[in-house]
Symmetry: D2
Subunit: 417 residues, 4 copies
Amino acid sequence: MTTAPKERVLLAYSGGLDTSCILAWLIDQGFEVLCYMANIGQEEDFEAAREKALKIGATKVFIEDLRKEFVEDLVWASVKANCLYEGVYYLGTSLARPVICRKQIEIAKAEGCQYVSHGCTGKGNDQVRFELGYYALHPGIKVIAPWRDPTFYERFPGRPALLEYAASKNIPVFQTAAKPWSTDENLYHISFEAGILEDPSVTPPKDMWKLTVDPEDAPNEPERIAIHFKNGIPVKVENKTDGQTVKTDALELFLYLNQLGRKHGVGRIDIVENRFIGIKSRGCYETPGGTILRHAHVDLEGLTLDREVRRLRDQYSQRLAEIIYNGLWYSAEREFIMASVDQSQGPVNGVVNVKLYKGNVIIEGRTSPSSLYDSKIASMDEAGGFNPSDSEGFIKIQSIRLKAYMAQKTGLQAGEF
Amino acid sequence: MTTAPKERVLLAYSGGLDTSCILAWLIDQGFEVLCYMANIGQEEDFEAAREKALKIGATKVFIEDLRKEFVEDLVWASVKANCLYEGVYYLGTSLARPVICRKQIEIAKAEGCQYVSHGCTGKGNDQVRFELGYYALHPGIKVIAPWRDPTFYERFPGRPALLEYAASKNIPVFQTAAKPWSTDENLYHISFEAGILEDPSVTPPKDMWKLTVDPEDAPNEPERIAIHFKNGIPVKVENKTDGQTVKTDALELFLYLNQLGRKHGVGRIDIVENRFIGIKSRGCYETPGGTILRHAHVDLEGLTLDREVRRLRDQYSQRLAEIIYNGLWYSAEREFIMASVDQSQGPVNGVVNVKLYKGNVIIEGRTSPSSLYDSKIASMDEAGGFNPSDSEGFIKIQSIRLKAYMAQKTGLQAGEF
Amino acid sequence: MTTAPKERVLLAYSGGLDTSCILAWLIDQGFEVLCYMANIGQEEDFEAAREKALKIGATKVFIEDLRKEFVEDLVWASVKANCLYEGVYYLGTSLARPVICRKQIEIAKAEGCQYVSHGCTGKGNDQVRFELGYYALHPGIKVIAPWRDPTFYERFPGRPALLEYAASKNIPVFQTAAKPWSTDENLYHISFEAGILEDPSVTPPKDMWKLTVDPEDAPNEPERIAIHFKNGIPVKVENKTDGQTVKTDALELFLYLNQLGRKHGVGRIDIVENRFIGIKSRGCYETPGGTILRHAHVDLEGLTLDREVRRLRDQYSQRLAEIIYNGLWYSAEREFIMASVDQSQGPVNGVVNVKLYKGNVIIEGRTSPSSLYDSKIASMDEAGGFNPSDSEGFIKIQSIRLKAYMAQKTGLQAGEF
Amino acid sequence: MTTAPKERVLLAYSGGLDTSCILAWLIDQGFEVLCYMANIGQEEDFEAAREKALKIGATKVFIEDLRKEFVEDLVWASVKANCLYEGVYYLGTSLARPVICRKQIEIAKAEGCQYVSHGCTGKGNDQVRFELGYYALHPGIKVIAPWRDPTFYERFPGRPALLEYAASKNIPVFQTAAKPWSTDENLYHISFEAGILEDPSVTPPKDMWKLTVDPEDAPNEPERIAIHFKNGIPVKVENKTDGQTVKTDALELFLYLNQLGRKHGVGRIDIVENRFIGIKSRGCYETPGGTILRHAHVDLEGLTLDREVRRLRDQYSQRLAEIIYNGLWYSAEREFIMASVDQSQGPVNGVVNVKLYKGNVIIEGRTSPSSLYDSKIASMDEAGGFNPSDSEGFIKIQSIRLKAYMAQKTGLQAGEF
């Protein structure tokens, strides 16, 4: 007598307590479970996690190094557009999701999985980001989100229930004392939320921060670097202080900026933000390299981007940040906006000199082979092919509309003033 | 035999070489000249300037303390809208112009002046800002802009010609060695441009900066303050470090924030910006108090402003910054945008805790009586009246559009995946 | 022995088969049901419906004439903003929902109902609009949406099941042969969708259209009217062809425009639109009076609205149309936008002359006491206080930026051309 | 003894009185003048004009047929973006200018002309459009605009002075009685302005309109066509009424739509618009083919364009219309916007059925091979792989934000309702 083959799930696995219990629970539900871990630069013992997953019962474990594509496909897009969500958040978690999704769906297709699963909670943004990615890339995929499934979350109402289940399944729990907040880390940033941070008036404790030193503990001596851009993307970082370090590979260059930012306490924020599902939440973030890059890129655009293009781009950057935050990377609207953004970056070439000092990213000058700056025209000391009486005409013409409006407002005709 | 009375000009006078020569030159042209100085918080010996103007031949000198209306009418508007021009510039010069214009026109009307005059150059933004203000507030006014008038600028092609003319008119020139840049100062900021700064690759010299200490020289100990807002406007600043200083008067409060920002090296920027007339120019700015306020206000909006209002407001803030930069404060479009901005600030009430340290403005927590943050709903640890399966429906509905687009892109029907 | 009082539901009742069955079914579920009908100008025998509801078992029936507040609160807001969803749809259904919701919640509160209910389907916009209105106005309210409840929709999978249930409950079904589409009607418009219209290539049959005559059957003689506006709102309509009809009351005036539009075949559209839930749907609409008003209002704004305000307002209007379409009338973002829109309408005063003819709304001229049009300045024949050389300066200044960009593009310096 | 060669001007020549006088006057000023006429579809006797120019003294006359590039490069761009200036104007004059400029500069370069010249007035848009095009395409070019040059306009203060000068130069004036308005015509449209139209309350006389019949005089029988689009551009027009006419060539197709629009009285408007220089002006326009195309293209986008792309594109389109109107076709911002617009048009493929009748363009259905419409999902009668309870989750999630705002507004906490 033959039995039907089990249905297959590809679980996004982290090695932690939650996804280990989800793994065991999915097996209990009768699924064959394959595990998938994306290396996006987080601090993690991937091989230990692999062993653990196999021990719990995963039939395969995929560990994928996605760091290079994360930097080149997502981080660089964000740098080109100067994306900041709500004017403050660098989108470190949001940017990682499309890369993780894409590989997960690729493996799910290759392995014939009918299902994918993840360990996200039911109140957060990540469930949305993962699942919109899954559905966009593979409309027929089915998703198991245990933390939204009453049969799961009612059985495991809190940490003790998970620990008890883990014990019953011989799932090892290598756990130091739990931190009173939760984190998400990748090479772009780390986030802190929940726990004691849920009170927005509480100052984060000094020992919470992980990717950067406290500006108060950073070196007393500044460090100077030059960042070279081509078509809006960083292509070289030189350390002007040590006079020798040079990085040109995308991943290495970015990790080096992280290292510098970390050392000088660059890139901490503490905000209350608006989740896609309409809830406000409080988060703290460290984005060392990303913060340095954004300052430098914005500065170089000052020199190289046409004024009106910059204004248009800034409007669409705000929208793009929302798109990315909301998990809509794989969407028509993202493609629409990126078409313009990419077009705009052609002239964004040159070098920006940056000083790092105790939390500050200080621009110290910039040059570009495709500069729009014309020192002769800009100069207050030279005529520069510029006829001052042109300005008079310009102003007079601009004033026509204002005069008409003021006449309207006061109920008088222009001639009556 | 009677002669016709002379035509009257009200000259915006600074006491410096340029406007002193303009004053003398206007008298030479047959005008009666009245002088006007606006005290907007710049460092200036107003009484010495008054004496000088009278000595040169001004028939009256008006010195007007506009600091309070500058803060309450302009700076507060900018704080409510979080205005930043091109994402970086705090608009310190632009914001002062409408206050200066308004009083100049008021006096011109009261004194029966047919003309107003100023000493702005023909390539800059200020000529535009002053004159659009003049024309909007008094459409019939006539403007004399000597630096755009060939009879003036051809006669005075450079500083030596002005000095010679000054000498011939017995105009005293109290001049220390000229700085290799020019500045514009008020209580909100100081700007540096021209001269050696015209090369955008040159790092500004350490001794150029005036309103702030170098972050490297700022105190090694941070200082903590609490800023209280009501309807988006700061109403109280408390020093938490000294435990006693409290400021509530608008002008005093703002000047106190300046003093703190100055001490801790807050608010320096160095940028290449786009002038209204389409020229790129390089400017350095110090905006100590304004920088602190913007960080705090943006943060409090995170807690109190509806997500969609914030997005709309952010779009119109970008536009408002352009309007202000371009000298269009007295315009229908500024009134249109401010109607929404003002409406949005009703709930922006509360306290933001801020740490100042060597150039950094660090938010350490915030509270509000009109917070939109609901810790029960936001909590990852509580159900909080939130049904996780609602999220599932939300995601599924969001995915419909994405699936359709992907089907379109791949040329397949959704059912065929 | 006492029993707990039944829980009370206030049902939005239409008198039709669906809501009659819902009424009976709610009673079956153990609720006390009160019925509510909003008179928003649809063709309906309200008293017959009242009798029917009472006969089925409603304990009370509220019939509310909301026509005046619909026109004054919603239609006028839409006229002021020139709202069109996706550039084509006049939002006739969307605009009625906030008025209906508001009264339903008012009655629910007064009558101590814990629940409200409606007969909307689970795929449409109206469920969203009603419920977002309910929740915004009364966050604690509970909603029963039978067409989303499996115990209801699985029991009534189609019309025959409803008819059978109706028969079993002695619910009279006064039904002529069902039309092969469904409609929603109010004084602003009628919509047609579903049924044979679900194929977007099908031309709607001539006998579908209800509120307007076919333009081909409209009078061969045009009719002329004058529409007077004050602060963006119509305050008088005069019939210039009959030379006597004048309407000034808001509701009468609007109904009169409907009558004229109907007669002349004005206001039909046939579109594919995007529902809030991400589905495309095909709808046909007739909006006779609204179409006339929009043409006239847009025209008058040409004469009276500042250029930059118009551009900003047009952006706000696109967003406002989405807000209204999506059922977000009772939201912070709608209040934000309306603050500016209302501000902008101060000068929108005057008279527009309109010719109606076989589907066309033809503007034949306009006047305004607060016009921004200055025939002397506009005239090609007069100098008009306008110095042509000002234009030269204006153009030269505008060209600076373009020249710099072209030099950048071609890799040459401006001087090298 | 040799003399320096004369400087060369390439004059945009129309054959009319103004540019004939300008031609003669330029020769009087000592220039060698070459004439240039662009055939952009206007009604004109080009050969007669050539003879006239040569007779007056032009050394060469270039007559260029730019109709095809006008349609393919400019009109199609406008169709893709649905451009309408201020929501009403089809930009018929504005769209022609970039094509005319481009060829004029091309010839000026080839012929070694240091100057170009035109006959535009000093108050209009066209001077701006021509000159910004000239400067962008050839930054070193010098422009002679006689109507802004006091030596010209003071010599020729009105028509009689021009006629007298023409007589003195033996310039033939073939002039029927001058119309009391001025026009600009090309294959896309004709404009009427000035003269009696300067009073915005005056109804244009019936005999003014030229490119279309009065809707009242149009055929009593409608005519039906099918317009096929590929990537947002019309590629075929079929006449369904005659059952045989088919056009596929871009220029022929467009001219055929003109012919149909003309016959059925399609595309008249009468507006007050805002010129770039801040003056309001009144214009009447006929755009027969363009009006038909826009209706069809907008309709097809309903079926094929993603909702969010459409919204973004509509914002871009409003801005693009301003760019084109203001003469900024050759600009960085136009390139930026078109990059996205072009990207969006990939799926805009299909056929729109259109009925033309007495001024109306009536959509009668549409189909597309790349439709986003899914009748199964849209259907109100089928479940269509759609779970109605998803909508419930969607609505509940949407309501979270609204409830929080209402709680804020009323000063109560959500739990207290």
